[in-house]
Assembly symmetry: C2
Homo-oligomer: 163 residues x 2
DNA sequence: CTGTGAATGTTATAATGTTGCAAATTTTGC
DNA sequence: GCAAAATTTGCAACATTATAACATTCACAG
């Protein structure tokens, strides 16, 4: 597992992907969840891209593999991965991204760069606790939080259109 | 403008809608934005429902009015209303809801009850400031925040399926 | 008036997501 | 092992959400 997110720094992406897959195998084993070949392949594709990938993007990648899948196959794999905390759905993009903190219970917060399309997932305990507090003040029982911030990442502020 | 959101309390809904429309007219006049009949009608339909309304729901309501509109008409009206801060789009629902704080610059936070479908919009300065802080720590320039909390409202916790 | 830009109408199509059922595969109880 | 049960996948059709492209109408300044 990554010690810290490697957001906007260059990094060895192959290692990044293998690590994510290795983590996923362990987590699924612990949870008695079956990381079947399709599911693992979908997870790999999502990690390879490192940017949010739409369901139909995944479908296209599978097709170029020679795997002739239909939409339900992809959506089911994505559901499974979400259920097991391996990917997140970004509602404002209709797209999916690998979870940076799999296995750890967390309320993800996503920084989405509108210029380069990269997304950084953070866990911000102070944010989460303020959110819980605000909801509790209204007597609301929080089950699921969607927190997505669109803007400009550090690189794109300095160097527009770098990627 | 409402002094305070009337979240889960019964209230005079007609007054609520008229007030929202009156506010909208004033705001558009101030901003030199043209609140045309279609736009105003769409805003009214959204307020009447008091629950998030999908674009095609709006379309259906217009149709039952005898107004035979096509999707672009509705989407354009919704875009206009969003641009002018009169409605919000709830990304996790693909639906729209009237803004409770039109005219005031704010980062909305939405409490979405999965049982009754009601949505309460809050402005939570403490949440906003924590969000800004977390983004700033990463050097990220925030432009737009999506914060949607799914869960159970007070009434539905007590009385499942009340609405 | 009349030219200009904004708003709306219209048709078609793209993008995203789901339902329902059949076939294959894996697990489980014996 | 082996048959029943449960899970997973394949597949076809369809539902929902959103946009593109271009024509037409409308409001208003000159």
């Amino acid at each position: 597992m990554l010690a810290r997110p490697t957001p906007y720094r260059p990094h060895n992406h192959d290692a990044c992907v293998s690590q994510a897959l290795a983590d996923a195998r362990i987590i699924c084993q612990q949870q008695n969840a079956r990381l079947t070949p399709i599911r693992e392949r979908v997870l790999e594709l999502i990690w390879r891209s490192h940017k949010p990938l739409g369901a139909y993007d995944v479908l296209a990648e599978l097709a170029s593999d020679g795997h002739n899948a239909a939409p339900p196959t992809v959506y089911r794999a994505l559901d499974f991965l979400q259920q097991n905390g391996l990917v997140h759905r970004i509602a404002s993009l209709n797209a999916f991204i690998g979870c940076t903190y799999p296995g750890e219970s967390h309320a993800g917060m996503f920084l989405i760069c509108r210029a380069c399309g990269n997304v950084l997932e953070l866990t911000a305990p102070d944010v989460s606790s303020e959110v819980r507090k605000a909801a509790a003040d209204e007597g609301f029982r929080t089950e699921n939080t969607t927190l997505e911030i669109a803007g400009l990442c550090p690189l794109c502020q300095a160097e527009p259109g770098h990627d």
